[in-house]
Amino acid sequence: MALNIALKVNDLDNVATVFVNGIEANDQVEVRDSKGNRYPITVSGPIPYGHKLAIDDIAVNSLIIKYGEEIGICSKPIKKGDHVHVHNLDSMRGRGDL
């Protein structure tokens, strides 16, 4: 059976990327790092394939880290297990799509 994998690329990251379809609230995913260390997290809502999951609580105005670097700033309080995307993450370089 397929595992519910969420990949954490860099040790500094506070998000992991989900690689399974149909993840819903209260589902468990297995967070894995580049070395294969793994632990479970329960998600708080649906997360589509390729989208991000918070693996820590993230406070407003703190950095959201992926690849060990900042991909944006937190715009709404984020709890561990939450979907992280444009609704709670702001680009620090301006949103070219708006």
Partner: protein, 387 residues
């Protein structure tokens, strides 16, 4: 750690022992092609530049062709000149000969046209192939490795699987004392400030910002803003939340080590080791030429949709992040990094497997695109108008 390479007269180390047939101008391509078809162990560089261009571009094309001629994977070179081209064919031959590499030249106009040039060129290429065919491989330290990296025909898996594998290998090669070169300046946009932080000093950091500005200014001069619309609606639907995230997904290929310097497109890598940037576009024919011109012996190429092409004198290893594409295009894809996303393997495990395949490739094992001969379309990145 060692690999089996060819020691060239100037001390450079090659992973292949081919004769390069290099047209000095697009008008010489058909003659060069006929020679390549006839004489085994030759490779042709059928670009579309070399005349009716502004002087800076003609200089750049000449420099790039010199860089290709000096590729350590070529044991000898035949330059095929028309006679009236804008590139400096004399300088090409002199620069290649100065390194001790055997080099010959033919001029189509002087020889009396196509058929005579093909005959003379075939005879010369045959002689060059025979001359270098007895050179033996020697065991050489891995610090002689110059690895180039690139991603193309990407999808949502590239930034999380195949590019992370290349990032792992980049760090490993730098730590072993080798050289890594990455490019694709267009993909730095939005994360150039993060990349600049990794520069060895402020000068190099400023240069990184400068090449991004320069490239954006060229797009603006044509009325296009490259930041606008990024990330695209499709990117956002796919899970990318910011331009930083999109660009970092490409930059992760370069690993995490300090950036030693920035090369111009036509530059040859210096003797300094470590991680370098080359200012290149992302499109395959131009970036592959730029990387081979640097002196890279091999390229790691990440893909998700399935990019099949290689390069005439540089083995290209295809690392596919998408497990479905790997199955579907398994005769073009060398490594299945999609197993990271299905949970079968870790980034480090696929990284080690790919590193081992790269060592075998340096020793002489052909990549899939090499064995298929899928490397006919190359080009040189120029900046100005064609006149």
């Amino acid at each position: 750690m060692e690999f089996m390479g060819y020691v060239r007269p100037d001390g450079k180390i090659g992973a292949r022992n081919l004769v390069g047939i290099i047209p000095s101008v697009v008008c010489a391509n058909d003659v060069a092609q006929a020679i390549v078809r006839q004489v085994r162990d030759t490779v042709g560089f059928f670009h579309h530049q070399g005349c009716c261009q502004l002087p800076p571009d003609l200089e750049r094309v000449t420099d790039t062709l010199v860089g290709l001629g000096l590729s350590p994977n070529l044991g000898a070179v035949l330059v095929v000149s028309l006679g009236c081209e804008g590139t400096d064919h004399r300088r090409m031959v002199e620069a290649i000969a100065a390194t001790g590499k055997p080099v010959e030249i033919i001029h189509i106009q002087e020889l009396g046209g196509t058929s005579r040039a093909i005959q003379e060129g075939t005879d010369l290429a045959q002689k060059l192939v025979q001359k270098i065919s007895g050179i033996q491989r020697e065991a050489l330290d891995i610090s002689n490795l110059i690895m180039s990296i690139k991603c193309g025909a990407s999808d949502a898996t590239s930034g999380m699987a195949s590019n992370c594998v290349i990032g792992y290998i980049s760090d490993k090669v730098v730590d072993l004392g080798g050289t890594v070169i990455f490019g694709e300046t267009t993909e730095f946009i939005g994360a150039e400030h993060i990349l600049a932080r990794r520069a060895i000093n402020k000068e190099v950091g400023d240069k990184i910002l400068e090449i991004v500005d320069r490239m954006e200014a060229r797009a603006k001069s044509l009325g296009s803003d490259m930041r606008k619309g990024q990330p695209t609606p499709g990117n956002i639907e796919g899970g990318l939340s910011s331009i930083e995230e999109k660009s970092l997904g490409a930059i992760v290929k370069s690993g995490t080590r300090q950036i030693q310097g920035v090369l111009e497109y036509q530059d040859i890598i210096s003797t300094e080791k470590g991680l370098w940037i080359k200012d290149t576009p992302g499109r395959e024919p131009e970036i592959l030429t730029g990387m081979a011109c640097s002196g890279a012996q091999v390229m790691l190429f990440s893909t998700g949709r399935g990019a099949p092409q290689g390069f005439p004198c540089m083995p290209v290893i295809k690392i596919c992040g998408n497990p479905n594409t790997f199955q579907h295009m398994q005769h073009d894809m060398d490594i299945n990094a999609g197993r990271i996303l299905t949970g079968e393997k870790t980034i480090e495990e696929v990284g080690e497997e790919t590193f081992k395949l790269m060592l075998d490739t340096l020793d002489g094992r052909m990549t899939k695109n090499e064995a298929l001969g899928y490397f006919g379309s190359i080009d040189i990145h120029t900046l100005g108008p064609v006149i």
